[in-house]
Structures are given as C-alpha cells and as structure tokens.
Symmetry: C2
Subunit: 349 residues, 2 copies
C-alpha cells in the first residue's frame, strides 16, 4: 500500500513509444538512429524530434542482443599506477565526441582475477577491448581477440588477431643507462617486474626493458656490473627491492626502475636506510607520471606519452569495431628521458 521501493518502476521510453509518437514504425526509428540506408530527410526530422520530445535513450542491453552496445571496455591491473591514468585520459579524449562510452574493469595483479574481468567485459558485450599489459596467458587474450576487437597496450608480441600499442622500452632503458654513465656511474642496477613467462608472452614491457638495459650496459663495457632485481610495480614492491639492493655490501650507485610507483618505494627504502637521493644513490623511474614531477619528489624518469598511447589505442580500436580496417597493426612510441633532481654524479667512496 505504501509507495515503497516498488516505485522503482519508472517505465523507460522505448523505441516503440518514439515510433508511435512520430507515426512511423519501430524499424524506421531504428534506421534513423543508426543512420542506415532508406530514410527520407523528412522522416529523419520527425523521428528525431519525437526522440527529443520524449527524452528517449536507447537501451544498451537490448541493443547488445543484436547489434552493438557502443561500449568500450578497458582492463587494467590497478588504479594506483598513474601511468594508466594518462592512458585512460587519452582514451577518453579520443572517444569524447563519439557515441561510445568507456567502462573500466580494475582487476588487480592476479592472472585469474584479470581473466575473470576480461570475461566479464566480454559477457557484457563490449564492442571493443583495450587491455593494458594483461597478465593473463597469451592464448586467452588471443581467443578473446578472436571474438571481440582488441588492442593490447604494453606487450610487444604482435599478433594478426589484435592490434598493439607499445613503447620502445628497450630504447628507454638505453637512454637511462647512457645518462647515468655520462654522469659517471658504473654500478647501475635495474628493478623490473618479474614478467610472467608462464603466460607465453615473449616480450612483455619488462622483458624489453631488461633487454635494452643489458644491451646498453654491454655497449658501455659494463656487462659485468649489470644486475636485474625483480619487484612488483607498486610502492611495496619497490620498497622491498630497495631494501634488498641498498642494504647489501656492494650497493649500486644508481637504480633504474620500470615504473615510477616502484621508484617511490625505493625512495622510501633509501630514506629508511639513511641514504639520500641523489647524493648516495641516483634513482630513475619510468612513465614520467605526475608524481615524478611533484615538488618534493623530482624524479628523473622516462616519458612514455601515455596520453598519446591511449588516444592511439582508442582510434585503432574504433577502426576495427566499425570494420574500417581488417588487418592488425602495431604502433610503437619512442620514449624520452626527463632529467630531474634524483640523478647526479656518484659519490666517490
């Protein structure tokens, strides 16, 4: 009797209502919406005003049953990595004036969790997917891409079934090593993600990075000084790596990391050990996120143009979704070194 929660029954305006109001068939309304062939300007006009007058909004689920949902799904592992925010901004900007909506699935670092999230996105009939450095096995991503247009950001492994947008991580690592060597460093360590070999990805960002690092060290005749330490790209991951590297007897004079977040964890570790940056240790991040430029931080980092990567990925994806391109493509961005106050000449011991 009371007007309780059963009052959640505000009937939606449907295509049928619009059709009736405009005095045409539902098929006609549908055609106008999708601006398909076979509609006169006069009818379009009538239908459009009817839609406006009734405040019609298409029902995405119903659309999903037959056609598109006009929704793009983005998978990322964690929201805290500011680099992803840059990528997202790029995606949003590109899709701003289109009729597509972006929905984000934040999955965490676990491969299972990520796989579940990808499946969720597919089940919800996303028209296209952007996967940012997915941790799921490659086979699974390929299977998904088979059914839904997909752009993979980060992994260098190309495929004829999905598009890719990557940063030339190996080049980036080279830039950093060159910079540090020029400052006089020889003992340069790399802290990078472990990179799940199990997933059968041959060239994840961290593998490319390590590769570039090792090649650069070699080029400078410092192959003997090279060492790679694995850590998760998070504050805690960096902290643990920092403690391990900096508390040993042969501590490096410079550390290069694969992510700014991790660099900040190392910063914290250094602080706890009474070491100051860059006096005792030089530190270089990757991604050039907003935190890197923050006043108290001033982290030397490698800029990856996350914004552009996101925008590019979105553009590529829409081309595929709308069937304007039928073969896969890869885009590689060139990184740039941004020198700030966290690097300097090594202390003479």
């Amino acid at each position: 009797m009371t007007p309780d929660s059963s009052s959640r029954n505000t009937k939606r305006v449907t295509i049928t209502d619009v059709a009736r109001h405009a005095g045409v068939s539902t098929a006609a309304v549908s055609k106008v919406m999708r601006n398909a062939y076979g509609t006169s300007p006069a009818m379009q006009e009538r239908v459009r005003t009817a839609m406006a007058e009734l405040g019609y909004r298409p029902h995405a689920a119903a659309r999903g049953m037959r056609g598109r949902t006009y929704t793009i799904g983005v998978l990322l592992d964690n929201v805290r990595n500011a680099f992803f925010a840059d990528v997202l901004d790029g995606i949003h900007e590109e899709l701003q004036d289109s009729e597509y909506t972006v929905l984000i699935g934040a999955a965490g670092f676990g491969a299972d969790e990520q796989a579940r999230t990808i499946r969720s996105l597919v089940d919800r009939q996303m028209d296209g997917l952007v996967l940012i450095a997915p941790g799921t096995p490659r086979a699974e991503v390929l299977a998904t891409a088979q059914a839904t247009p997909t752009v993979v950001i980060g992994h260098h492994d190309a495929s004829d079934v999905h598009d890719s947008v990557v940063d030339a991580d190996d080049v980036g690592a080279g830039l950093v090593v060159d910079h540090l060597v020029a400052l006089g460093h020889r003992d340069i360590a790399l802290v990078a993600a472990a990179g799940s070999r199990t997933g059968r990805w041959q060239r994840t960002p961290e593998i490319a990075l390590a590769d570039g690092y090792l090649r650069a060290m070699d080029r400078h005749g410092l192959a003997g000084h090279a060492r790679v330490h694995h850590a998760a790209y998070s504050d805690d991951g960096g902290h643990a790596a920092g403690l391990a590297l900096l508390s040993g007897p042969d501590r490096p004079t410079a550390i290069l990391t694969g992510a700014d977040v991790a660099a900040l964890g190392i910063y914290r570790a250094a602080d706890e050990l009474g070491l100051s940056i860059p006096a005792d240790v030089s530190l270089v991040g990757y991604n050039n996120t907003a935190i890197a430029s923050l006043a108290p931080v001033q982290l030397t980092s490698v800029d990856q143009a996350g914004h552009t990567m996101g925008a590019t990925a979105a553009r590529m994806l829409i081309e595929r979704v709308e069937g304007r391109r039928d073969r896969s493509m890869q885009t590689t961005m060139t990184p740039r070194l941004v020198v700030r106050r966290s690097t300097g000449a090594p202390h003479v011991r």
Copy 2:
C-alpha cells in the same frame, strides 16, 4: 574467401544448449542459475555439470533485458585522486566472492560529463550505482536513484531514496585545527573545493569541511584569522591556490586542504617561492592517501578510511539490490589525524 574478420563468429554457448545437453527445459536451467525455488537436487546437479562441460557463461545483455546484469557501476570524477583508489579497493574486496562485477565510469570534473556517464551506466542496466561525490545536480541523482539502487559517497545530504556513506569532514577539520593550534599556529588557512551550490547539494564534503574549520577556529578564538580559499582538488588546483596564498604579504603559517592531491600542488608552489615545509609553512592534507606517507613527502593528513567506506558502500548497495532492505540509511565514518613531517611549530617572524 579469406578467413578474415568475419571469423569473429565463435558461437556462444547459450542456455538452450545447456538445456538440451542436460535434457531439461531452458526454464529449468534458468532456475538453477538463479537458484530459484522449484528445483530438485538431482536436476541441479545435472544442469551444473552440463554448464561446466559446455563452458557456459551467461549473456549479460540478455539477462539485462529482463532481470539483473550482476554489474555494479561506480562513478568517479578522476582516477588520479588516490583516495578513490582506496574506495575502489574496498568495493572490490567486498564484492570479491560475489557474482557481481564492478565497472568504473571515470567522468571528469564537469557536471555534464558526469551526468552523461551516470546515464550511460543506467542505460547499461547496472544493478546498482556507487556515486563518489557526484557533481551533478541533486535532483538528477535523486531521479536516478529512484530507478536504480544507489549509494552516494561524500555528500552529507541524506535522502530516503538513496543510501549515503560519508566521512565526518567537520570533525576532521576540527582535529587539524586543534593540532595546528597546539603547535602554536594562529594564522591557519583552508584550501577547499568550491562546491557547486548550483547542484542544490546542501552539504558537500567541502561545505562540511569549511564548516568544521570555521567552528574550530571560532572555538579557539581565531575566527578573525580564518580564511577559505577555493581550489580544485588536483595538483594544478592546489598549485594555484598555494601561489595565491603564499605570495601575499599576510601569508598564513599553516594551510589545511581538503585533499592530499591539492596539498602536493601547494607543496610545489611553496617550493617555487623558496619556502620550505614545515619550517616556513605547515601543510596538512586530507584523505591520507598513499602519497602522503611517501618518503619524500611525509604529509600530515586526515585518514578517512576510504577502504572501509568503499566496502561499506558495496555492502549497503547489495542489500538494496537484493531487496533485503527497503529503507534508506546513512553511514558516517570518524576521521583520524595522522601526524607526519609536514607540520611543526610556526617560525617566529
């Protein structure tokens, strides 16, 4: 003729396939899935194995046409605010083992954009919505909540149509003022968001914060020293506010802000003006995000328990979605002050 993109036709396993495989009707399968009344254990068993054998996954769009989509939509203005990440973590954790999926709509700061995003979420048949400090007019939120279960985080305005989770921002402001006064400060400024009065929200977080600040200043007999400066909760917003406040002749000895992000902007401004923190100016953030505790930052901040807020919101929302509660409720969390190195006794000039 070539196996091109038309090979995107991997037929989905549908409920009909499962039904046939198990030798029952589709209605039966549907019942088992929703574990509705009227299914024998024997049949459940058969259906479940059939689903497993065929690798069946329900089609969310189809579900959305009649029943639920098992999807929760979260609206936030920007991904960069680490406080939101905490909230998201809480939501995720709470929903971890349920069959609900969380999808995030990142809308930006504009009211229009946010309204559009909310509509997108509704059109995609989300079962429930979590709106984090929405900038859309209150009326619009109420209308949405009328049709879809909704939890609003942040705004103190209660409503009988949606649930709320808030932080006692006024209390938090009081804690900070008390702390600063105890250190010897008298000239304490507040930097907070403008708070769109147009939206008809009576008590946004920033209004509550300003309120608590003014009352606390008054309590200490410092009403004459109180001043509120408006700024967007972003790095740039804080930077601008910082420059304005700190370059004037009567610069405050302490600044309290409504968000850590903004505090970091002020930090940058101070740095540019050659002022050091806390020697020249004490600085206090709000949210106690991960950045606040970062080694080079060490920002005194107010902890808002974002994680708990998120988890609580999710729990409340699911109760509503599943119809286990039919009246609205509000939850208020008590903030806690976390003192770090960005506050100290004022310099005697």
